[in-house]
Amino acid sequence: MEQVLINGVVLAVNYALIALGITLIFSIMNILNFAHGQMFMIGGFVVYYLYGIFKINYFVSLLAVVIVLGAIGWSFETFFFRRMRRMATREENSMLLAVGTALLLENLALSIFGEKQRGVPPVVTGVFRIGTAYLPAGRLLVMVLALVLIIGLLLFVQYTKLGRAMRALAQDREVTHLMGVNVDRVAAYGFALGAALAGLAGGLLVTVFGVNSGVGNVYSIKAFIMIMIGGAGVVPGAILGAIVLGFVEAIGYALLPGSITYLLIFTGLIIFLLLRPQGLLGKPWG
């Protein structure tokens, strides 16, 4: 049981990184980033090539992930979504465009990286023993890094000028504009930051699970489940959703055979949404 709890914590912390990224983009721009899982996957591949193949320092590789994914997120907002916001006649359009970007990234990855499952050598070796459970040093590292990133992100959003502009934008776009904030620029940075978080989660988890170009949708769905549990666009909700999903997944994989865990999660989710469509911490809507 202790082993299950440890696995749950490792998963929950990394999932929180994913959920926070998608929440950031959703709350700032009201765009559901369907490509979030694909961004996660690309982050994994960047680490695979830099750290796994070219033997560059792991932390430098993670920095490269931030730059690559930040650039992708920034250009998505600047070249695609901004244009779409100006000319869209139906509200579905930006959602469809988000689906389109997911398709683009997935096909891009398929063309460039191929279909093979890739893994990287461990960053640190050794195993810690806690009671009857084992915690490999690699997983501990991933967990600590994710935790540091989450705290860093929360501090950034809370105390920096750009972070404050992002929170303002999430509250009210027009008023933020009136207050003299360059809305387009902040939105682009927000998208870049969200994408970078997805990529970082990918870069961390690639050391544990490996990566292949088909995992995108799986992680997008995980991100969706988390924000539906916690409530979309709410930061504490994203973290709560990640904790719930991480532990449920760890417990399910320990007790149930194969893919039944997710079948139960989906069934539970639909019943949950029947009772509380706005999620645990979300505000009631329409």
């Binding site: 959703f26 559901l32 695609f80 244009r83 779409m84 000319m87 869209a88 006649t89 139906r90 509200e91 579905e92 359009n93 959602m95 469809l96 465009l97 689906v99 389109g100 970007t101 997911a102 398709l103 683009l104 990234l105 997935e106 096909n107 891009l108 398929l110 063309s111 949708n217 997008s220 769905i221 969706f224 489940i225 924000i227 539906m228 979309a232 194969g258 893919s259 039944i260 997710y262 079948l263 989906f266 069934t267 989710l269 639909i270 019943i271 949404l273 029947l274 469509p277 329409g286």
Partner: protein, 347 residues
């Protein structure tokens, strides 16, 4: 090659565009154009391409994919972005596969039955899920596609897990009083399947057209604009959105059943999230305001995907780029080009 149909579909699309999904009644010219589409599908294509099983198969796929997407178009008309159509195609496919292999039910009964199974399941799941709107509905239905795939994977003896159900029998002959109305489908020739697909597509189009010009169609559009307002004038919102969703699932189920028999097999991975997304994209790229949108979108994209075979390695990549370009520069769909043309002509 295949252009015949494309033009037919585009021409027909103009019918949809100019009569608009907003009001019923066809002018004589539009009836004529619709007849041209039917002629192209049933006469021109078989004569011109009948010798090439490859093209006939591609067009069969496009026709049934359009049929399935027409269902998604209905959920768009109530203002919901439905990413679960792959799930219901899978349900329909399994329903007909199980009925045919286990109980020896004739294909001609399986087809409507699997549509009914799909729509019953759709109504059951749709009741709670349709309370969600916008991205929430999209997220949930996307998860549903994955959930149904996992259900098929874990279905034990009924669905045969990952090995899927194979050797599904082909459709037999229909005889009334010893008179053969439809001959037995034989293995080598895809033409009978092509004709069946075209019949389904035309029936689907006529059905959806009737639906969207009837009172029900107006109710659906009122739901898209404002559900609260619709409630206030006495429309039972919950009932009508479940009806729309059930019709959508019915079409998905029929299409899934057709493909399971056409390919003679079905696996949990036959319909994945990518398929659900594609059904939705066909509607979008054709144009959400036009009944012919899904048809035009499906035919163009399926044919474009086949033509991109020439650039093998980059097929998927170019396809993805093409789609983004279409979204950014044609946000109201390909048919909006035709509409602009028409209104210019008038002005």
């Amino acid at each position: 090659m295949g252009i015949e149909v494309e033009q037919g579909a585009v021409r027909a699309g103009r019918v949809g565009a100019s009569s608009g999904s907003e009001n019923g009644g066809l002018t004589r010219g539009q009836k004529f154009q619709f007849a041209l589409l039917v002629l192209a599908l049933f006469v021109a294509v078989p004569i011109l391409l009948g010798h090439s099983p490859y093209f006939i198969t591609v067009l069969t796929n496009a026709a049934i994919l359009s049929f399935i997407s027409l269902g998604v178009w209905i959920t768009f008309s109530i203002g919901r972005m439905n990413l679960a159509q792959g799930a219901f195609a899978l349900v329909g496919g399994y329903a007909s596969a199980i009925l045919a292999t286990r109980y020896g039910v004739s294909f001609w009964l399986c087809l409507p039955l699997s549509g009914l199974v799909s729509s019953a399941l759709g109504a059951l799941i749709g009741w709670p899920v349709l309370r969600l709107k916008g991205v929430y509905f999209a997220m949930t239905t996307l998860s549903l596609t994955e959930a149904i795939r996992l259900l098929a994977l874990n279905g034990g003896d009924l669905t045969k897990g990952a090995t899927g159900i194979v050797n599904i029998p082909r459709p037999g002959a229909i005889k009334i009083f010893g008179l053969t109305i439809v001959p037995e489908f034989n293995g080598a020739d895809p033409l009978p399947f092509y004709f069946l697909a075209c019949v389904l597509l035309v029936l689907g189009l006529v059905g959806v057209w009737r639906l969207s010009t009837s009172r029900l169609g107006w109710v659906f559009r009122s739901l898209r604009q404002n559900e609260d307002l619709a409630t206030s004038i006495g429309i039972n919102v919950a009932k009508y959105r479940v009806i729309a969703f059930a019709v959508c699932c019915f079409m998905g189920g029929i299409g899934g059943a057709f493909f399971s028999v056409f390919h003679q097999n079905i696996y949990p991975a036959t319909y994945t999230i990518a398929d659900s997304v594609n059904f939705m994209l066909y509607c979008f790229l054709g144009g959400l305001s036009y009944i012919f949108g899904p048809v035009v979108g499906a035919f163009l994209l399926v044919i474009a995907f086949e033509l991109l075979h020439a650039v093998q390695d980059y097929q998927a990549l170019i396809y993805g780029v093409l789609m983004i370009v279409c979204m950014l520069w044609l946000p109201n769909g390909i048919l909006s080009l035709g509409l602009r043309h028409v209104s210019k002509g008038k002005g």
